[in-house]
C-alpha cells in the first residue's frame, strides 16, 4: 500500500545520492523533486511539464543542452554539427584528460557546447547550446571551434544564430589557448554581423567570465532567463577583491536589465515563441535584394 507520506522521503534519499550538490541542482528520474530555492516538493512529471521551472517559486532549473534543443527546436528538424569533435591536452595540463573523461561521462556529451541547424516554429536557424554538466560550460578550444564553425556556416548560408549560454568562463586547463577562443569567436560573430545577419543570445544561469566577455554579450538581441546569474567576475571573486558582501540580487538577469545590458528577461515557457517571433521580425533583406536584382536581369 502506498505510503501517503512518501513525498517526505526523497529529500533524504536525494541528498544521500548526492543529488542536490550546492548550486548544482541535478534532477534524477525520481518521482518527487525538491526545488533548491523554495524547497517545495513537486512531482517530477509536473516539473517536466512545466519546462523544468518550479511550480511554486518559478525557479528555472538548469537543464542539459539536449533537453534545451528539444524545448526549442521543432521536432525532427535538428541536425547536429561537429558532434564528434573532442578536446586534446595541448599544453600538458595536469589531470586534464581525467577531467575530460569524467565530464564526458557525467554529461553524456563530447564537449561543453552542442551546435546544429534546425527550425523554431518553422524558422530555420543555427543554434548553439552550452552545457553546464560539461566542466561547468567552460570554454575550451573545441567549444570555441564549434561556435566559430556554427557562425561561419550561418554566414555562408545566410541564417540567424541563436546561442544559449551557460559557462563558468575560460577553461584553465587549456591555458592561453582558451583565452584565444574569445577572440576567435568574436571574429566570427563580427563577420556574421557585418553580413547583416541576426544573432540572438539567451543567457542562462550562470553566464560568467570569458563567455560573458565575448560572444554572450555580442548579440544583436540579448535575452535572459529569469534570475540567471550573469557577470564578468564571479560573485566570490568580487567579494574577495572588495572585501564586502554583495547585495542579494547583484548580477541577476533583472539587475542587468535595469543597468541596460540585456534586452529582455523571458520565461522559459515563452522562449521558443519569443525566438520565433524575433527571427520573423528580421527577414533577410539583403538576400531578397539580390534575388530582386537577379529577377530584373
Amino acid at each position: 500500500m502506498p505510503d501517503i507520506f512518501n513525498f517526505l522521503k526523497p529529500k533524504n534519499e536525494l541528498e544521500n545520492q548526492g543529488g542536490f550538490v550546492e548550486n548544482h541542482p541535478y534532477i534524477p528520474e525520481e518521482l518527487w523533486v525538491k526545488c533548491p530555492v523554495c524547497k517545495a516538493a513537486m512531482l517530477s512529471s509536473d516539473l517536466m511539464d512545466n519546462h523544468k521551472v518550479c511550480l511554486k517559486c518559478n525557479y528555472h532549473f538548469r537543464i542539459a543542452a539536449r533537453q534545451r534543443i528539444e524545448m526549442t527546436i521543432d521536432e525532427g528538424t535538428f541536425t547536429e554539427m561537429d558532434a564528434e569533435m573532442t578536446s586534446a591536452n595541448k599544453i600538458d595540463f595536469p589531470d586534464y584528460e581525467k577531467k575530460l573523461k569524467s565530464a564526458k561521462l557525467s554529461s553524456g556529451e563530447n564537449e561543453s557546447v552542442l551546435t546544429g541547424v534546425g527550425c523554431i516554429n518553422g524558422e530555420k536557424t543555427v543554434i548553439a547550446v552550452m552545457n553546464s554538466q560539461f566542466m561547468m560550460g567552460s570554454m575550451g578550444t573545441v567549444t570555441g571551434e564549434k561556435i566559430t564553425r556554427a557562425f561561419e556556416y550561418a554566414t555562408d548560408k545566410r541564417l540567424p544564430v541563436i546561442i544559449f549560454t551557460v559557462s563558468g568562463g575560460a577553461r584553465m586547463q587549456e591555458g592561453i589557448l582558451s583565452l584565444m577562443q574569445m577572440a576567435k569567436t568574436s571574429g566570427a560573430v563580427k563577420r556574421h554581423s557585418d553580413a547583416g545577419l541576426l544573432y540572438i543570445t539567451v543567457l542562462t544561469d550562470p553566464t560568467t567570465g570569458g563567455v560573458t566577455a565575448s560572444f554572450a554579450m555580442e548579440g544583436d538581441i540579448i535575452l535572459s532567463e529569469p534570475r540567471a546569474l550573469i557577470g564578468f567576475a564571479g560573485p566570490r571573486v568580487i567579494e574577495q577583491t572588495i572585501r564586502q558582501k554583495l547585495p542579494k540580487d547583484f548580477q541577476s538577469a533583472e539587475f542587468l536589465l535595469e543597468k541596460g545590458f540585456i534586452d529582455a528577461v523571458v520565461e522559459r515557457r515563452n522562449m521558443k515563441d519569443t525566438l520565433a517571433r524575433l527571427i520573423r521580425l528580421h527577414p533577410d533583406t539583403m538576400q531578397k535584394k539580390e534575388v530582386a536584382a537577379d529577377e530584373r536581369v
Binding site: I91, F93, M172, A183, G187, G209, A216, K259
Partner: protein, 256 residues
C-alpha cells in the same frame, strides 16, 4: 629562470610601465587624450596621439603607476569598462585618420568590482574584441609586464603581439589557478609552470610573433631598438590593403 621567476620579474615594482615606454619611444610628441565619452576617464588606461619617425600613431597603454600614489590613482593597472571604452574610442579614431595603433599591455586583469560589473565589464571587453577584429588600420600589441586574461586580450586583438622576455600572458593568475587546482593559493610556482605563461612558451604555442630581449641596461638599449622595430613593422603593414589586413588578422586568431 623558472616560470615563476618570470612572474616575479613581470610584476616587479621597478619595472618600466607604459608611461616609460611612451616617454622614451615617442618623447614630447605624445599628446594625451582623455575619457570614453560615456562615463569617465579611467586612469588605468593611458592613450593619445604621438609621432613615430614623423608619422602619427595612436598609442594606448594599460598603466600600473610607478609609485604607490600613482598606483592607487591608476587602480594598479586594472581597468574598468570605461577604460576599455576609452581604448576603443581611440582605436576608432585611429581608423578614421588612417594611423596605426600601438598598445602596451601591463595589467593583472580587468577590475573585479561592483562598479565594473554595473557598467558592463564583460560587454566592454567583448565589444573591443569584436571591433578590433575588423579595425581597418594596423594594430600592434606589446606585453611589457603582466598580461592578465580578458583584461589584457581587450587590447591585444592585434596583427602582431610581442612580449618582453620577462612579460607573462595568462588566462588566469597563478594564484587563482593554484587555489582551484590544489585549494592552495601559495602553490604559485607549480601553477605558473602548468599555465605556460612565459614569452618562450607562448612563442612555441604560436600565440606571439616576437620576444623582445631585455638587456641588462634596460634603460639605454631597449627603447631605441624597440622604436626601430615598431617603425619597421608599421611600414610593412602599411603596404597591405585594409581588406587584406583584416583578413590576415581574422586568420591569425582563427587558427587557435
Amino acid at each position: 629562470m623558472s616560470a615563476f621567476d618570470h612572474v616575479t620579474a613581470a610584476r616587479a615594482n621597478d619595472r618600466p610601465t607604459s608611461i616609460d615606454y611612451i616617454t622614451r619611444i615617442f618623447g614630447d610628441s605624445f599628446f594625451e587624450l582623455h575619457g570614453d565619452r560615456r562615463f569617465a576617464d579611467d586612469k588605468a588606461v593611458i592613450g593619445g596621439i604621438a609621432e613615430l619617425n614623423g608619422k602619427p600613431v595612436t598609442v594606448i597603454g594599460l598603466e600600473k603607476g610607478r609609485n604607490l600614489k600613482e598606483r592607487m590613482s591608476r587602480n594598479f593597472g586594472s581597468a574598468h569598462p570605461e577604460g576599455y571604452r576609452k581604448a576603443l574610442r581611440l582605436m576608432k579614431q585611429a581608423e578614421k585618420f588612417h594611423r596605426p595603433v600601438i598598445c602596451f599591455v601591463d595589467t593583472s586583469g580587468a577590475y573585479c568590482g561592483i562598479g565594473a560589473e554595473e557598467r558592463g565589464q564583460g560587454q566592454a571587453i567583448a565589444e573591443n574584441l569584436m571591433e578590433m577584429m575588423t579595425l581597418k588600420t594596423p594594430i600592434l600589441s606589446i606585453f611589457i609586464g603582466e598580461g592578465g586574461s580578458g583584461g589584457a586580450l581587450a587590447l591585444a586583438v592585434a596583427d602582431e603581439v610581442w612580449m618582453l622576455e620577462n612579460a607573462i600572458y595568462s588566462v588566469i593568475s597563478p594564484e587563482g589557478c593554484a587555489s582551484i587546482l590544489w585549494k592552495d593559493s601559495s602553490k604559485t610556482a607549480e601553477a605558473s609552470e602548468c599555465l605556460k605563461l612565459t614569452a618562450q612558451d607562448l612563442f612555441k604555442l604560436g600565440v606571439i610573433e616576437r620576444i623582445i630581449r631585455e638587456p641588462k641596461d634596460i634603460e639605454s638599449k631597449l627603447f631605441d631598438g624597440l622604436k626601430n622595430l615598431i617603425a619597421e613593422t608599421f611600414a610593412k603593414k602599411a603596404a597591405l590593403s585594409p581588406e587584406r589586413l583584416i583578413e590576415l588578422r581574422y586568420n591569425r586568431f582563427r587558427k587557435y
